[in-house]
């Protein structure tokens, strides 16, 4: 029983989502940028009014997409929050059952005259040795200035605890390009981030230091940049780079992203490829090069359904023969109401194209957005 609970916790958090954006709706709804739907310039978290409208348009059942179904609040206050849980099976060889909580967080943004204060906090499993105090935490808290507070384009400057903008930033962060490619879960750091989001292109640059108090997936100090250029109304290409220096190792990431929407079949493709150099500086040291890639195709099916099919590749060490893995993902989202989402997600993973044991999972996830 204990083992089942441990497995459940491990997989739960391994597949935990932290309310990142749904860029599957980019380009197909006339919102080419994250700011089209989100308050933050790099997406995720609190939805703006247009994001709430998109949630209403894409849901199966009608409803008010506003916070708490349109509950009255001051105009200077934006609120959000997410509750997620999941259950299912892991390890295709044995189909071990797993059920677990994933996320319980609330978010608030207070804004006036172009300045705003954002905070995102909630519960997580006991951290840092199990102290009950560490069950409460805040992944993000930062101040932001934006040049055009009533628009979705312009300059943005953020300072505080945040996720350095990097890569595609899909909600399913177990994608190889995120998990191994420089955008893992809980990698928020303290930093200064500047962004320009325009009609034709956007650029983000972040300098950061690791959290000196709470442990984080990001143990280094460094910087990240991401730039994306839109090619007409239905395509975009991007490039990113990130460098982190931690006491035991340094990482350098560089990659490319691409997005292509095909209006006829209503199909959106997103792709990301990263090359990673890991330099172990501790002990006798070592230096490796890794590759991570992901291709995701998304298609709305009507009735609030959205199907994603993804393919991933990860080369753990380019020096070593056959040290790579590939995966095939399928995610069926069902946006039941503007606030309720069901997700059936499955992965089959092959090591060395079947030369080693396979991995994977089949999980049903519940998501409620406040």
């Amino acid at each position: 029983m204990i083992r089942i609970v441990i497995i459940a916790l491990a997989i739960a958090m391994a597949t935990a989502s932290v309310a990142h954006a749904y860029p599957q709706y980019q380009l197909s709804h006339g919102d080419a940028t994250c700011t089209g739907c989100h308050v933050s310039p790099d997406g995720g978290g609190i939805l703006n009014e247009n994001g709430q409208n998109v949630a209403e348009q894409t849901a199966w059942k009608d409803g008010n997409g506003g916070w708490m179904y349109g509950m009255t609040k001051p105009s200077w206050l934006a609120l959000g929050g997410d509750v997620r849980g999941a259950a299912g099976f892991v390890d295709p060889g044995t189909a071990s059952a797993a059920a677990y909580p994933m996320q319980l967080e609330v978010a608030a943004s207070v804004h006036a005259h172009g300045f705003s204060l954002h905070a995102l906090g909630g519960l997580r499993s006991p951290q840092d040795g199990g102290s009950a105090l560490h069950v409460l935490w805040s992944r993000e808290h930062y101040v932001m200035w934006q040049s055009n507070p009533d628009e979705t384009y312009g300059f943005y400057v953020r300072a505080g605890r945040l996720m350095p903008t990097f890569g595609l930033r899909l909600a399913e962060h177990i994608n190889y390009t995120q998990k191994y490619g420089g955008y893992p879960l809980y990698a928020e750091a303290y930093g200064l981030s500047t962004s320009y989001v325009g009609h034709a292109f956007e650029v983000h640059a972040t300098g950061f230091v690791h959290d000196p108090i709470a442990t984080s997936a990001e143990k280094g100090d460094g910087g990240a940049v991401y730039a994306e250029v839109r090619l007409g109304d239905h395509a975009a290409i991007g490039a990113d780079a990130k460098y982190t220096s931690a006491p035991e190792q340094k990482h350098t990431y560089a990659g490319l992203t691409g997005k292509l929407y095909l209006p006829g079949p209503d199909l959106l493709f997103q792709a990301e490829a990263e090359i990673i150099e890991q330099h172990v500086t501790a002990g006798a040291g070592d230096k490796t090069t890794q590759l991570a890639g992901y291709l995701l195709a998304s298609k709305p099916l009507g009735g609030g359904l959205l199907l994603d099919v993804g393919l991933g590749h990860y080369t753990e060490d380019t020096r070593v023969k056959d040290l790579y893995r590939d995966c095939a993902d399928a995610n069926l989202h069902w946006f039941v109401t503007p606030h309720v989402e069901g997700l059936l997600t499955a992965r089959v993973e092959l090591l060395d194209l079947g030369g080693s044991p396979t991995g994977g999972y089949l999980l049903a996830q519940f998501h409620y957005r406040l």
Binding site: A10, T215, E248, G283, T315, Y324, G359
Partner: protein, 121 residues
């Protein structure tokens, strides 16, 4: 030049071509194998410390691997195999990591490190 060509070939094919000659040290097995798999932040990391194991740093791994006697000691040997290798190779729902099995090459390097006297521990 030869190294550049080898790297170019490796990049083009997405995988390496050489046998595994990675150094079997604590630092390498921790930061290149255990940390990206077992030591993800939500599992056996210094953040979550699941079951008392923090395998995302060398210090954490050293502490976790130092115990060779207790029931949960990762290097405790039973039936000729350490607990670490046993759980990584396990079947029947007992394998770790449960959804992302380690590659044979990684398991072999871990065993090589153990057989070599656990360099760096």
């Amino acid at each position: 030049m030869r190294r550049s060509i080898a790297l170019a070939v490796a990049l083009a094919s997405g995988c390496g071509t050489a046998p595994d000659d990675r150094p079997a040290t604590l630092e390498v097995i921790t930061l290149e194998i255990l940390a990206p798999t077992c030591g993800q932040v939500q599992c056996h990391s210094s953040t979550t410390n699941l079951r008392g194991y923090a395998l995302d740093t060398v210090a954490g791994a050293r502490a976790a691997l130092a115990d060779k006697t207790s029931q949960d000691g990762l290097l405790k040997v039973s039936n000729g195999k350490t607990k670490l290798i046993e759980v990584i190779e396990a079947t029947g729902g007992k394998r770790m990591p449960p959804d992302v099995p380690l590659a044979d090459e990684d398991i072999a390097l871990l065993q090589k490190w153990i057989d070599g006297g656990e360099l760096g521990l």
